[in-house]
Amino acid sequence: MSDIDDKLMSPADAVRRFIGNGSQVAIGGFTINRNPMALACEIARQGVKDLHLVCHSHGQALDLLIGAGCVSRLELAYGGNGRYAPTCIRFRDAVENNKILFEDYSNYQMSLRFLAGALGVPYIPSKSGLGSDVIRLEGFPPGIRKERNVASKKVVIAQNPFSNDDDPVVLLPALTPDVALVHAQYVGDDGTVRITGLSFADIEQAKSADVVIVSCEEIVPRSIIRRDPDANSLPPFLVDAIVHAPHGAHPTACYGFYDYDPGHLNLYRAAAGDDETWRAYLDKWIYGVPSHEAYLEKIGDTALRALRADPERGYAVGLDRK
């Protein structure tokens, strides 16, 4: 028996148990990297509604969840996937056509808001954004400002009380989401989590949340993960559910394991631009597959093999990325 028997579960069970309509969810990763896709696909598959997503710069999971109609509120800094979607396509559609409520911040602001949540402090000051419309304009309507997990004000401009000069700062309200989704390279069978390569703001997001769901490429013995505790990212007691999902970030990258999948991202881009082809994409890749394993089978071994990371460089050297 390992220490994580009670936490180890399928994506379906993790989503059913911890995410409901209206949940506030922080998604780990960044644009085309280490998105918790196995979990995001499962959320879409279960048809969860009215999610309130909170994220910095996001791409694939964000766009999929919006496109699948799971999201009614969004706080973000950026929605884009590089050449595969300079602006995320279903996100753009939802904003331009008034399908969701949205609130813009910057990456530093969103990261500091997660940090404030992780530190257990109500807000954090910053200089970033003074004079910008990011500070001036509220995206959320006043009517929802009193609801749980919506900041009473987008930001507050205050004077630095330690300065005698005029020294304005932007106070950024803490984020304390219901759930944080993380895709990691490794989880030990003691429950310790290890992210390799850049951690983005995943650690702050996890620490700021009530519930943390971690999907991972590999589950390794305690003796292995504890051989180098300096490399670890989260202690067991912050993690509520562990999902073993190899290729669980596909079609985004997972440093040291696989690169992003240009073929699938191009296919996605082509589908997302039109409501009808988009519906067909969802039918084929989400609703039409019962599980993450079935999804991977449909992607196919050949495609996955081409993405395999070079062990030293961490990405697929020479991959055709057009």
């Binding site: 960044f30 710069s57 884009g80 602001q109 200089k127 970033s128 004079g131 910008s132 304005p168 703001a201």
Partner: protein
């Protein structure tokens, strides 16, 4: 060699502005091309970093975005957003940010959020990402934009990233003690900013581009009295850009 594209000239023009020892924060798109090009040609001793947390990667392959695993390979240190974005404003560092934009005004303020009404925009762009932060905190900003009247505008639809704000010392009076735009690299030339007004002027035009073309494509008046003609790309610059930096034409179109 005479044939080259707008994007190639922009990447080279921006790359030439970077010096060894500079600490450069690069965004997605042409910014990434300029950074990777500078690392190979002009400033191998410059340090490039990305808001995602990768500091001084080897850049052997062109990262497609700042979230590309190529920004975390061969680095000095892999951190996260908070570390990277706090370095932008570190008082002991001279940091230069490379930012793309959809709209720009005469004071170098940038819009990467939306066109039309903010709440129900005609066109939505990706948003700030780290651009608002870089514009607020870095020692200087070099921006990239296609030279079109609808992009060089009197008034931005949304001010995502503060440049010289309303000119003069208005930026400092906002509470931002340092930084501000250094240059704007377009497909026609390079714009810089006057002291003390902080208004944009035309610093150089690319070979063969008439000043009139630039004026016609700028939505506000600019001083062109100090304009010089840029050096055309050398055969070696173009070879490196095409064969080594972006052989797959991921960003070069």
């Amino acid at each position: 060699m005479t044939g080259y594209t707008d994007t190639e000239m922009m990447a080279l023009a921006a790359g030439r502005l970077i010096k060894d020892g500079d600490i450069v924060f690069a965004g997605t798109g042409v910014s990434m091309l300029a950074a990777t090009t500078a690392k190979r040609i002009y400033a191998p001793g410059a340090v490039f970093f990305f808001e995602t947390g990768g500091i001084d990667p080897d850049l052997r392959e062109l990262p497609m975005t700042v979230g590309d695993p190529r920004v975390m390979s061969g680095t000095s240190i892999n951190t996260g957003l908070i570390d990277a974005l706090s370095l932008l404003g570190h008082r002991k560092l001279r940091t230069i940010a490379l930012l793309g934009t959809a709209q720009i005004d005469r004071y170098g303020n940038l819009n990467t959020t939306s066109l039309g009404d903010y709440h129900r925009p005609a066109t939505r762009f990706p948003g700030s990402g780290g651009a608002c932060d870089a514009a607020s905190c870095a020692s200087g900003v070099i921006s990239f934009v296609k030279h079109e009247k609808r992009r060089f505008v009197e008034k931005l639809d949304y001010l995502t990233s503060v440049g010289w704000y309303r000119g003069g010392d208005s930026r400092r009076r906002l509470g931002l003690p340092r930084g501000g735009p250094i240059a704007v690299v377009t497909n026609l030339g390079v714009m810089k900013f006057d002291d003390p007004t902080k208004e944009m002027y035309l610093a150089c035009r690319y070979p063969g581009v008439p000043v009139e073309t630039i004026l016609e494509n700028t939505g506000f008046p600019v001083d062109v009295s100090r304009t010089v003609e840029a050096e055309p790309p050398s055969a070696e610059e173009l070879r490196i850009l095409r064969k080594e930096v972006d052989p797959q034409h991921l960003i070069l179109q």
